[in-house]
Assembly symmetry: C2
Homo-oligomer: 358 residues x 2
């Protein structure tokens, strides 16, 4: 997931009077700065954008348009997941899927990937081989070549085993112009599959919680789902994959950027029983847990049924469902209609408790 998911949060940024940390701690990088929630947005707004912005190309995005080539988009992601392998995937496949999916959420099919390796001295070569082979396999399965790379080695203790970066260039499907600011009142909100699998799979493996037998990461490429939506072109208003910060963050970003209210039906959101159990144990809301294999589509009501059928026609969309709709204001609000009929506001997490899940 890249920075733009955070630039899109609708939260007041700095100074953060609510921050419970003492001042000198606020002046250091915190784990929550990388979690995709409000702290990430703060870091972006107060540190990163002022430093590297101002080049005349507007805000950072999941996948940015390439200057002079309007049909091309580019996206970058670094991967620091721990452990390197987990049920359903590893850092190699995750790195490929993550970048392919960021391109896809701009309506683009992947043209080329780059792969950069930072390895810690002492990492077994067999392990490096395994995850890179997994990256290669994921790229071939997604139909995208790895065209160039880079390898750096740091001394023991200077990195935790292995970090990868993938950057991708994609070409937009001409009929699709999705944007986080493109949703309109009355849109159907579609979700392509169950939530919470990736974050709980990684966490359970790392912490030895015992859910590993029942939960596997959903990491997979989503560009074919996006291509399946191409026939509904201008009716596909917004697309996003709810990675860091989970479904809650994604819905808030789109509600904010599109200046509308999103209403979600809790009963319609598919949460696998093992994910629900793991979240119960950990005190986590499945809505804020990262996913790596589903997407949210905001589609005009008239095309929603057909779009759902198109998603379900692919294996990765077989469990696609409609989870809610959009409505006129209050702009930026996400409401959940709970199982007992109450409504609660779904917020962006400040800095959730799942470090290094991607």
């Amino acid at each position: 997931m890249s920075t733009s998911t955070s630039t899109n949060t609708g939260t007041a940024l700095t100074p953060n009077a609510d921050c419970p940390l003492p001042h000198h701690e606020r002046e250091r990088v915190q784990l929550g700065h990388g979690a995709g929630g409000r702290l990430t947005a703060e870091l972006l707004e107060s540190v990163i954008l002022p430093a590297v912005g101002g080049c005349g190309t507007g805000p950072l995005e999941d996948a940015a348009l390439l200057p002079s080539y309007g049909e091309l988009v580019v996206s970058t992601d670094s991967f620091v997941v721990s452990p390197l392998s987990f049920p359903g995937g590893d850092i190699g496949s995750l790195a490929v899927h993550g970048t392919v999916n960021d391109l896809a959420m701009r309506g683009a099919m992947p043209l080329a990937l780059t792969l950069s390796v930072i390895a810690e001295e002492g990492l077994p070569l067999d392990e490096l081989r395994t995850v890179l082979a997994s990256a290669g396999k994921a790229a071939r399965e997604a139909g995208v070549p790895v065209v160039t790379g880079d390898t750096k080695v740091v001394g023991r203790g200077a990195a935790d085993r292995l970090f990868l970066n993938t950057t991708g260039v994609g070409r937009r499907l001409p009929s699709l112009l999705p944007s986080a600011a493109g949703a309109r009142p009355g849109d159907a909100v579609l979700l392509s599959g169950p939530i919470g699998l990736h974050g709980t799979a990684v966490l359970s493996t790392r912490e030895g919680l015992g859910f590993e037998a029942d939960i596997a990461s959903d990491t997979r490429p989503l560009h074919r789902l996006v291509r399946a939506l191409a026939p509904y072109g201008p009716d596909v208003h917004a697309l996003r994959d709810p990675t860091r910060g989970g479904l809650a963050t994604t819905l808030n970003e789109i509600a904010h950027d599109s200046c509308l209210r999103v209403e979600i039906d809790e009963a319609a959101v598919p949460v696998p029983p093992a994910v629900a159990a793991a979240c119960d144990l950990l005190g986590l809301d499945p809505l804020i847990v990262a996913n790596e294999g589903c997407l949210v589509a905001f589609v005009a009501a008239r095309s929603a049924d057909a779009a759902l059928v198109a998603l379900r026609a692919l294996p990765e969309g077989a469990q696609a469902v409609r989870i809610g709709h959009t409505a006129e204001g209050p702009a930026g609000r996400v409401e959940l209609r709970t199982l007992v009929g109450a409504r609660r506001v779904v917020d962006v997490p400040v800095g959730e408790q799942l470090p290094r899940i991607c």
Copy 2:
């Protein structure tokens, strides 16, 4: 510097019978695997290329052609330099220059950069601000926008402060088609500036050697030098910036890929006195020390003088010199005519002793 400088080494790869390490150590990542010399080539050939290659686009390159867009090239680099700041630059400016230069060595002007951050928990935000501002400034000075980014945070001890990745997309100047395989017998070998500054500046700062007052990194963008060579188009046969592995590695790569012999005149290679002194102290050959602000151009003899004038017309090429020429075989050999008139063969370092200089 990216992987291709290593794929181009003309050395027998695995198994490496000369390797002094016991077998079980050879099966782990070593610092030398990241040094740009023979060990890097081994890692690429035995681990990385078999894993991610086979996508039908040929060998990894410093900057690869983008499929379907022959005029566009893409290049990626991760930066792990320690310390983060050094005389003449910091990890931010280095990350921008490194990728701009990799694009330039394929004859391309930069169109867009991505910037990905991996930060260690506890890094002072002021320090992050400083190096990112430096990256932003370097990008503006190079005339290239940073169009997208990514931010990850890892816990204390899981990374050494800060790593950056930059990936760039560039557009080739139509008249230039340089290639490491493009040099021809009789070419002049031009060098745009003195060698050894970057590696010795970083090393001296890190180790407190006391040369910091006299040596500053040469980190700078080189694309304008390349543009200055455009009028000599087809006569500009090969371009490369001698980063990791230094001038020795670069010359060996081109000699190997172009199947010819390179003859260098030691007296003509500019080594600043402070660099020579630092190398003496450290027992290093300046020819293997990394540079970040000079390039080597292999130019047809008939255009060599004019190309040298064009390089010297820019501040970053003011000290450009002709350091030698190419000749028919033995293919892949680099010979140095020493100050006393002897000849010695210049080899690719196995895994040089300058970790984390970029």
